[in-house]
Amino acid sequence: MIHLLRRFAFYLLAAWVSLSLNFLIPRLAPGDPASALQLRFQGRLEPEALQAMKRAFGYVDAPLPEQYLSYLGGLCRGDLGISVSYFPARVTEVIADGLFWTLFLSGVSVLISFTLGSLLGAVLAFRRGSVADALLPPLLTFLGAFPYFWLAMLLLYVFGFSLDWLPVRHAYSDELEPGVSAAFVASALSHAFLPSLSIVLTSVGAWVLSMRNNLMATLSEDYVLLAVAKGLSPAKVLFRYAARSAILPSVTGFGMALGFVLSGSLLTEIVFSYPGQGFLLYQAVKNQDYALMQGLFLFITLAVLLANWLVDVAHVLLDPRLRR
């Protein structure tokens, strides 16, 4: 319990750092962010609304600490300003719209990649020196060296355009109403297939290698030898004895990799015009929509922190040593 509370305090600190970075970065930049904001919304927004937005970003005529307080107040009210590229929608609404699709695409892809990679890694460690063990690691390293979005472009090109097997953009067919119907789910799955495949292909190698190397070390431990000597079946020794402790470093790495995989999947979304956070980020950069960029930064960071805490909880469940 103490362990989880300490981790939670750490994530709170990290959250505060990201809030403060979000406040500081615009002020470190050359130029005046307040008047840039004014210029952008002049004539499009009621004067009161513009004032409210400037207050939410802390662009008030006061010393820095007061600006900071004004900014924190805006955050507490959940006010992240108004998006230029999706005018007149609020940034929070825009982000909420894309949230489901990002969670769906990255969540499913990361889980598939982690499970598949760890299983494959376990098999390779078990069959060390086999042909598969000689060929797969360098091949997966090569795949992992591609930028996520480039492999996405390649898959899009081959399976989307040249062969025309799968849909090439958006999260579901334009002719369908979102809802829980068989046609809609099928359409969503077929639209997610290529983006998900590109994320899995580029990220699976890291899990394979991590599991393979850890398990190879674990297999030479005495307690594994004892399990073999007891006459347990190889599958039982592998999964119940060795793999359970060999997967711990991968679980620790999972939280860290999450941010990285998420970054990659954001770029993948852009290639497939997939309507999640990555596509919003692209729109924000293209239209110099600073409010949306800042909102996305805060939002994605907080999501990663939360996911990391969940990984910590999973770690405690897997490792009895942490449960004291």
Binding site: F10, L13, A14, V17, L21, N22, I25, P30, F126, R127, R128, G129, S130, P138, T141, F142, L143, G144, A145, F146, P147, F149, W150, L151, M153, L154, L156, Y157, F161, L219, S220, V224, L225, V228, V237, L238, M256, L258, G259, F260, L262, S263, L266, L267, I270, V271, Y282, V285, K286, Q288, Y290, M293, Q294, L296, F297, I300, T301, V304, L305, N308
Partner: protein, 310 residues
């Protein structure tokens, strides 16, 4: 020297080094031998031909020249970021491990926070507010990338800190900076080198990603801006694969080469990997749970003789 010889011993690392040498040659000499990558030379989107080896872009530029010139600028930024990240990470890691106590606590906390913040959104924010250009990108990548190296170096330095020769140097009243840089650092070259490789790989990938988003200076020719223009011009729709395929392959090949060299470094630092391979080569047996022997590490010369005779 030991490290270099150890790396050279690994077949993978030799392949990696050969590829890296090829990239270095292309980056150093290539731009003098190609056409001007920015000039409008021919009809748009010509497929590869004898005259234009990789065809032309939507703007009628030579795609091959863009690939070669892009190699120089992208590798330049990657190496610069790699060196900076390695230096900052090593310094922070060494400082934390050397002084320990409160200094270590504070530094480790900062490192932990920077590790957990997702790199791309932070980099996007920084790159969007600062002036676009290769040096901005480099600064952004250093800021979002240094923490991992600091953590790795700190872990290794903590072990060294307790060694007798370090304690002796402290007792002699040597300056902390001298002890860190001249006593401890030389004994962790392999970990520093491997973190340099990882940092460079990460820098190339992240740089391409940022430029792909349009956050670089799009008038420059780099791997990332080449792909940015390919997407902006919707080259996939016109099925002009030659503007997309070569750049990605170059990026992956470079990353692959670095990973292979890193594998060699790994073998130097963890002999178990080496023993395993030597054992498999000697016995030629598939190894599963049936082989649970304690590996015996032979002296290098013996191991070499064994391997060649087998």
């Amino acid at each position: 020297m030991m490290l270099l010889r150890g790396i050279w011993d690994s077949r993978q690392a030799r392949l990696g080094l050969a590829l890296l040498a090829l990239f270095a040659a292309v980056a150093a000499l290539g731009p003098f031998l190609t056409r001007d990558p920015a000039a409008f030379l021919a009809d748009p989107l010509l497929p590869p031909s004898a005259e234009f080896w990789l065809g032309t872009t939507r703007q009628g530029q030579d795609a091959f020249a863009q690939l070669i010139v892009g190699t120089r600028s992208s590798l330049g930024i990657g190496l610069l970021v790699g060196v900076l990240v390695m230096s900052i990470g090593s310094l922070v890691g060494l400082t934390a491990a050397y002084f320990g106590g409160l200094v270590d606590d504070v530094l480790s906390l900062i490192v932990g926070v920077f590790l957990i913040l997702p790199g791309l959104p932070l980099a996007v924010l920084l790159a969007a507010f600062l002036e676009a250009g290769p040096l901005t990108i480099a600064a952004v990548l250093v800021l979002t990338g240094w923490a991992w190296n600091a953590r790795v170096v700190r872990a290794q330095a903590l072990a060294l800190r307790r060694r007798d020769y370090v304690l002796a140097a402290i007792a002699l009243g040597e300056h902390p900076l001298r002890i860190m840089l001249l006593e401890m650092l030389p004994n962790m070259t392999s970990i520093v080198f491997s973190s340099f490789i990882a940092a460079t790989m990460h820098a190339i990938g992240a740089q391409v990603g940022l430029e792909f988003l349009g956050l670089g200076d799009v008038s420059q020719v780099t791997w990332g801006t080449n792909l940015f223009w390919a997407v902006t011009n919707q080259d996939i729709l016109t099925e002009s694969w030659w503007t997309i395929l070569p750049t990605g392959l170059a990026i992956a090949l470079f990353g692959f080469a670095l990973a292979q060299v890193n594998y060699g470094v790994d073998e130097v630092t963890s002999p178990r990997l080496k023993v395993d391979r030597a054992y498999t080569a000697l016995v030629g047996q598939r190894t599963g749970l049936r082989r649970l022997l304690t590996p015996v590490v032979l002296a290098r010369s013996d191991a070499d003789r064994e391997r060649t005779s087998a």
